[in-house]
């Protein structure tokens, strides 16, 4: 029982990361109707942005690991990733907006490969140790909790889940209560009508990529707090799983992405804990195939009709 609870806690922390990445997939899909394959690599770049800026930033905040320093590192990585996301959209996707879907898809795969293999060239292919930006330790649970006090909850896990919740709340406010958010929702409903109503398509698309990529960047730093080993290909598998999460929750649906991320994180941890670690990746893909077979619109999505 205690062991199961422990697995659940680990799964929720892992799921929060997937949720953050999945949001980027789902937002871009919502407005552009295509899968941004390079999104997982933006997550990787977020981790590396943190890796290279953390020593300098921590020095400003007094040298050692600190919460203010960690927040600054997180924000820096988010800003850098937002910039990268906007650049990718501007250079690679915008010229292809009127092209066949296959062309855009292949370009996206190309961008993903370029970021991954370029990262191997620039950063080096070997895993790097992420600097300690907060003192990560297990939280002492009160002994009055009885056998529950043997559970291990680390500060990193609490921070990851907390940050994810805060970011989700900010995102919800932006999407539901600002004019930009209104424009985004209008675009995802009907791009032509939205443009006719004066929505600036290019600006909104850039904004969507910026937000999605910032979330991925945050996920990159947050994941490195828990598992301080980063390498240039870490984005591929995390990106694919986050994509499965987005599909599971219903692609195009932001709360769905968060829910899907959580479920995939839990599933993955439970499979590793109770079944066989080598089945982790195949099972996640099996979930994807099952979802697409039995409920292609996902858990929270609405079925969509193909129009002529």
């Amino acid at each position: 029982m205690i062991e199961f609870l422990q697995q659940l806690i680990n799964g929720v922390a892992q799921g929060a990361i997937y949720a953050l990445i999945a949001i980027g997939y789902t937002m871009v899909f919502g407005v552009l109707r295509f899968i941004n394959f390079a999104h997982g690599d933006v997550y990787m770049l977020g981790a590396f942005a943190g890796f290279y800026t953390a020593p300098g930033i921590l020095k400003i905040f007094g040298g050692g690991p600190s919460y203010a320093g960690a927040a600054a590192v997180l924000l820096t990585a988010m800003v850098i990733c937002a910039g990268i996301g906007v650049l990718i959209e501007r250079i690679c996707y915008r010229p292809l907006r009127e092209h066949p879907r296959l062309t855009v898809l292949i370009t996206a795969i190309g961008v993903s490969l370029l970021l991954g293999s370029g990262g191997q060239y620039v950063f080096g292919a070997d895993p790097k140790a992420f600097p300690e930006i907060i003192a990560d330790a297990a939280i002492e649970l009160p002994t009055s909790w009885g056998s529950f006090s043997t559970l291990t909850i680390t500060i990193g896990q609490v921070l990851v889940v907390g940050c994810t919740l805060v970011l989700l709340f900010v995102l919800k406010t932006v999407v539901l209560h600002t004019k930009t958010g209104l424009a985004m929702r209008a675009l995802s409903l009907n791009p032509t009508a939205a443009s006719l109503m004066g929505v600036n398509l290019d600006a909104i698309l850039s904004f969507t990529f910026a937000i999605g990529s910032a979330m991925a960047g945050a996920a990159g730093v947050l994941t490195s707090i828990q598992q301080p080993s980063i390498d240039p290909l870490m984005g591929v598998s995390a990106g694919l799983k986050a994509f499965v999460a987005a599909v599971l929750g219903g692609i195009g649906n932001i709360p769905g992405a968060a829910l899907g991320g959580l479920l995939i994180g839990l599933l993955e941890t439970l499979v590793v804990g109770y079944v066989n670690p080598t089945y982790r990746d195949p099972l996640v893909f099996a979930v994807l195939i099952l979802v697409l077979l039995f409920r292609p619109s996902g858990l929270l999505g609405k079925p969509e009709r193909e129009k002529v």
């Binding site: 296959l102 795969i109 190309g110 599909v247 195949p282 099996a286 697409l292």
Partner: protein
């Protein structure tokens, strides 16, 4: 092609003649030649799926793995069923190749029939996921060597069988898409909704393209296993699939001749790049191009898609006439 059957027979005879001289070819070049042949089969078969039917598959290496492992397992277990003479083991080898192809085709049917009801982008990820599942199953299958890989495969593949396979794949794909029945593939690619409205069973065509493509990929896998004599699950990973996809896109989707040329070029390219590392006067980055060829490939993909979506040799055709 004015007379496809004649070309096929000519190609097979040519392959047999060249095979007679295989002992005088430098082993290094011989290795490259066989690899070119195997890659041409892979690229031509994937071109049927991507180029002619417009369905994006990122799992071709998975089908190749099915064929490679099935045929290697079969020759390993039943290789001397009819005795140890060369014709007897050769017959088992050919049978293993065909059955390996059929096993891959069956895998193609398994992936295809549920997922081809989906739209393009999903399909890419489902096929990728499926090849990961295949890899996962192999990694856990003790009779197939699991994580250690499968070794001790008898070398049967030679120039003749490889290019017999190439001729079959090219002939099969070209005559299929040029037949009346085969125009359904092109219709699905050009406009799926319109094709459906015209009464074409789009799902059937998509599944068929998948199954035929998977068959030839499995055949190529069998040839590969019986040439390299050792196969490993990681040899059929995502990057191998990407390699094949790059051949198709570089050559020009829907141009079999262009794809053949691109497959040959991209097989030779890493070897040429590797030679660069021995050139003393080149700057340091240029000498390491062979290790970083993925950067080159990905840049090629992006630049081609932005400026020349029809690929480098998209207008290249075998003989005169239609694509």
């Amino acid at each position: 092609m004015r007379n496809p059957k004649f070309c096929l027979i000519l190609a097979v005879i040519l392959a047999a003649v060249v095979n007679g001289f295989s002992s005088v070819i430098n082993p290094y070049y011989y290795d490259i030649l066989i690899t070119i042949g195997i890659n041409v089969i892979l690229a031509v078969s994937l071109n049927l799926v991507i180029g002619y039917t417009g369905q994006f598959s990122l799992g071709h290496a998975g089908f190749m793995a099915v064929g490679a492992y099935f045929s290697a397992w079969m020759t390993g277990r039943y290789g001397v069923l009819f005795g140890e003479s060369a014709p007897a083991t050769g017959a088992i080898y050919v049978l293993a190749l065909i059955l390996g192809g059929l096993a891959a085709a069956f895998a193609g049917l398994l992936v295809g029939s549920p997922s081809l009801r989906l739209r393009g982008d999903y399909l890419a990820i489902v096929t990728l996921g499926f090849s990961e599942i295949i890899k996962g199953v192999i990694q856990n299958a003790e009779p197939l060597g699991a994580q250690r890989g499968l070794g001790g495969i008898v070398q049967h593949t030679n120039f003749f069988w490889t290019f017999f396979g190439v001729a079959l794949a090219v002939y099969g794909v070209l005559t299929l898409v040029h037949s009346t029945y085969g125009s359904g593939f092109l219709a699905v690619r050009d406009d799926e909704i319109a094709a459906e409205a015209m009464g074409i069973n789009t799902t059937k065509y998509k599944v068929l393209a998948f199954v035929i493509g998977a068959f030839f990929a499995g055949l190529a896998g069998g040839l590969y296993a019986h040439f390299k004599q050792f196969i490993h699950p990681e040899g059929f990973n995502f990057l191998k699939s990407v390699d094949i996809v790059v051949m198709v896109i570089l050559g020009g989707m829907g141009s079999t001749a262009g794809v053949c040329l691109a497959a040959a070029l991209l097989t030779i390219l890493p070897e040429v790049l590797r030679m660069l590392s021995d050139v003393p006067w080149l700057p340091e980055p240029a000498r390491h191009l062979a290790d970083n060829r993925m950067i080159l490939y990905s840049l090629l993909l992006i630049v081609l898609m932005l400026n020349r979506p029809q690929g480098l040799f998209g207008r290249l055709r075998f003989g005169a006439g239609k694509p």
